[in-house]
Symmetry: none
Subunit: 199 residues, 4 copies
Amino acid sequence: MARKLNPEQHEAKKQKILAAAHNCFLVHGLQGASISMICKEASMSPGHLYHYFASKDAIIVAMTDEYLKSLHANINAHSESDDTATVLVSELWSMKSWTEVEHCRITFELFAEAARNEKVREIMIANTDKVRQLLIATLRAGQARGDVDASFDPEHTSTVLISLIYAAPMIPLIAPHSNFETSRGLITMMIRKFLKPAA
Amino acid sequence: MARKLNPEQHEAKKQKILAAAHNCFLVHGLQGASISMICKEASMSPGHLYHYFASKDAIIVAMTDEYLKSLHANINAHSESDDTATVLVSELWSMKSWTEVEHCRITFELFAEAARNEKVREIMIANTDKVRQLLIATLRAGQARGDVDASFDPEHTSTVLISLIYAAPMIPLIAPHSNFETSRGLITMMIRKFLKPAA
Amino acid sequence: MARKLNPEQHEAKKQKILAAAHNCFLVHGLQGASISMICKEASMSPGHLYHYFASKDAIIVAMTDEYLKSLHANINAHSESDDTATVLVSELWSMKSWTEVEHCRITFELFAEAARNEKVREIMIANTDKVRQLLIATLRAGQARGDVDASFDPEHTSTVLISLIYAAPMIPLIAPHSNFETSRGLITMMIRKFLKPAA
Amino acid sequence: MARKLNPEQHEAKKQKILAAAHNCFLVHGLQGASISMICKEASMSPGHLYHYFASKDAIIVAMTDEYLKSLHANINAHSESDDTATVLVSELWSMKSWTEVEHCRITFELFAEAARNEKVREIMIANTDKVRQLLIATLRAGQARGDVDASFDPEHTSTVLISLIYAAPMIPLIAPHSNFETSRGLITMMIRKFLKPAA
DNA sequence: TATGAATGAGGGTTCATTCAT
DNA sequence: GATGAATGAACCCTCATTCAT
């Protein structure tokens, strides 16, 4: 009697829920957004939603993974031989204004949640790790080429650089009149000057 | 005889509540921490707590202001003639380990909240502004002395530098095995190399 | 297969809540009756009750409308050609004792609430208006027939007469030993003598 | 050590509280008005208020008595030889508009409360009784003079007439555009025609 | 007299989740 | 697969009242 379920359609529904969840979480916070909110946003009944995710926490976890994957897609598209700074700020250079940066504010929710939710933390670590491995490779290549200060430990350097990128969405919140392009230029220049070998 | 109002004791109670709130918010999040939780932490009944603060939101707002003031105390203790990098990382250098950085994670909650709560945003802006004004002054002094790249706009540069500092507590969350001192050293060096006039 | 929405069952639940609410409000007052009380009376959890009504206020408003409709059913069953006094006291003559009048005491709650709650006031006005229109018609017909004093303004007369009917449940409260039938007879006679054209 | 308390000042404070309570109850209802509200209105701390009244219920009871005494003062000022209708509507004729009737709306609260609070009911009965005794005397005198229908039982007639007066504040609530003077004239005429002996 | 600190039960309401259909 | 009825614990907040000063 049990009908064979269509895996593609199943996956599509899950994506719809995760997209709705991202929107709601962005506006109301991870704890402020309710399941019924997400249901409305996804045009779905709560009973049905629980068919796809076992709990709200499972939605948060899945959404975190999904979001970080998409966020890092720009970076991961690069190769090890590319310049570290270019790789790192590639996401930033794909945007045109602070408005486009706004959806990244969900990372504040995620860092706050990561501090107390082990699963979320693990997902952040795992996703960051992929980026870190790429950056470490570009740093090593840069050091080999003499473009990057040879005294830097690639492990630590890559981590600090990543935190710098995650910090960018803070700028319009602490200084609402900051110019987007100027700020982006400064961040990029900061990274470049930092990496350059001492004269 | 009517009992005299004791403003000191009143203020002490408010501080006690704010400290309890900070702890709870840090562990459970701004929305995850409940009033009854804060009451237990502050050894106080809910009715009494509302004698001091009109709402949970008022507690969040007051706690934000209080926390940022204390966080920036190290920075604001400096004078305009001090070196920008030294001023900026002074808070970081007053700590000894990632464990001591942990209470700063509340800033993730605050940035998330600032994105949707106007009062919190205004308080973050106002508190950051004080720091920014000092940094701008140190940058200008540095430029006058020739220590700081003259092409930098002090307004934007100070903002980007502050965001960099706020990002530090992310490091142990995305790379749990990072060494505290190494990371701190890298951040400090990054700022110094960035500010130095091009050769 | 998705379960069909059953509007009848939904409506039945709402009626059950309104009936429970009327009982509770009658005994404890509009503000004295709590949602949890009404839930117990209606054998329903609070979460579920809020599935049917958005707020306690919405329950009060719906209950007011429901109650006034049922209260005026007797009156509205009459036709324009009927005698005004007969129409007006028809509700009263359907009862047998002060005990049966007791459920009308909810009108005291409603008048008190109407004085400060615009929605309740509007509902009372709207429901009274239906009765008033009928009474106005019977008065005009009576004046045409010469049964009713031609000098009376039907608008004002009908309103004063309605207030008189609403006042009846006060009688056992201010004079607990009043005889029900005697009082009812006096009210009816008062109306008849009042309406009769001057000799 | 105990200072002799000044009974006049003590009574003045109680009156101040009762006046504040009347205002609050009128606006927010007996249960909707809080002690702290009344304290603010009376410029008094809760601890002090409880020095004068043992409980909120005691305030309600005392306020009921106070209010009804003042409300009936007009009526009780008359003598037994006065015309019943004139006595009854004397309060109404001391007012100029519906606005002045508004403070009488507290009677709706009181009737609602009387239905469930024995003390309040007793006070309403006792206060009404005084008025009733006077009306009964005027009715008997009228019957003796031949001005009043001899078939009426003065006990019941007086009670019904009093309920009619209490009903007047309902009029602007159920028909907001009613003219005050016209309504008052109709009420007065209704009573006169009712009492007059049949031709 | 007079204050305002302090309580804790209970107010209306929302929530994540389960279940019958 | 899909619905919305149903739960009850927990949410923020207010209340009448008491107590130390």
